[in-house]
């Protein structure tokens, strides 16, 4: 999956299996990623677990879990709020589009989480205060949102060079031109959301990834605090990107 970290690093990672995105004193988020096509190390998210930890007079510990084709509008215990404490409604699960889009508002930690299912895979976006993001101890482990993926998990992909008439990957139904045209319909700016979209279409041939990139950018627009930094043009650890022309 493509990862945009707290520091606006943009990476594409293999991270097959279960990986923690966030692990702090208030919140734990873990994703499970599975291979999308045989013969490629590219993976996408099929499961997401969020744990809101017990917090003072506000909320009991609550677990939210989503899987492909199961995007519930409730925590695993069936409730939609933070339990029985006075401030329980400072944690709410909201269904935006049944089975496709939920939001979790954790007002007591100033946090908003957006989970979507697009095609067979899930997307995740979060907005939280820096103070909350940085509230972890040394013994709390890896957090992809904080420092990105380990170096050996990063995919330093480059878009394939145009090959007239042929598709770019064995599993792709798209030529590069067709993928570019498809992604441009939704993502007019040649930033890394656009390029990720093209990469995903060429890798999988699954047009749902166009929507994943589109909504990921919509979520950034809604959640990111700096409107001047919405677009990203250069990947982190981007040593040899094949298409190094300026973004715009």
């Amino acid at each position: 999956p493509h990862l945009r970290t707290f520091t606006d690093d943009f990476q594409t990672c293999k991270v097959r299996g279960a990986w923690p995105l966030i692990d702090n004193n208030y919140l734990f988020v873990q994703v499970t990623n599975v291979a999308v096509v045989p013969g490629s190390s590219a993976t996408a998210t099929s499961k997401l677990t969020v744990i809101f930890k017990n917090f003072q007079e506000c909320v009991d510990q609550k677990v939210y879990q989503a899987e492909t084709d199961d995007l519930p509008a409730a925590f695993v215990d069936g409730s939609r709020n933070g339990g029985e404490k006075h401030g329980a409604n400072s944690l709410r699960v909201l269904e935006r589009v049944a089975g496709q889009h939920i939001e979790i508002h954790a007002k007591y930690i100033g946090t908003t989480i957006v989970v979507r299912q697009l095609g067979r895979y899930l997307t995740f976006a979060v907005r939280l205060p820096e103070e909350v993001a940085n509230s972890f101890e040394d013994n709390q482990g890896l957090q992809l949102c904080l420092k990105g993926c380990p170096t050996n998990e990063r995919m330093d992909w480059r878009l394939p060079q145009p090959r007239k008439g042929g598709s770019a990957a064995p599993h792709s139904a798209f030529t590069r031109e067709a993928a570019t045209a498809k992604c441009r319909e939704r993502l007019p700016v040649d930033d890394l959301y656009f390029r990720s979209c093209v990469f995903d279409l060429l890798t999988t041939g699954d047009v749902n990834f166009t929507l994943a990139a589109y909504y990921a950018f919509e979520d950034v627009k809604n959640l990111h605090s700096n409107k001047d930094k919405l677009h990203i043009y250069q990947r982190t650890a981007d040593h040899s990107e094949g298409n190094s022309a300026p973004g715009r």
């Binding site: 999956p1 990862l3 007079e57 006075h86 329980a88 979060v126």
Partner: protein, 119 residues
Amino acid sequence: CRILKCNSEYLSATSGLHVGTEESAEFCIALRAYSQCTRKTARACRGDLAYHSAVHGIEDLMNQHNCSKVGPTQTPARAQPTSLDCMVHSDAPELCNYEKSLQRHAPHPNYTHCGLFGD
């Protein structure tokens, strides 16, 4: 554990009342509110002596005044929330609203974002 808050609310509600049949209805209203208050705080107060004393005391007093467990309470009805911002109970602690709880110290907290999508 907010049992002291429940205690003081009950005491304040019953401070002008005199034990007698004519004022039992008012006692019952106050006791039901008291009971409701203790239920809300039950989880946090588990094992707290003051809490368990209050729960037993309420039962005794309800029997004494022949109060039914169902009926009006003194707690004013809460207005239905009209938007997300209003969904925290009016008596929820201020610390359950991150921005409000910070206002005194840092009026404008910095926010950050993380996202994961695609393949």
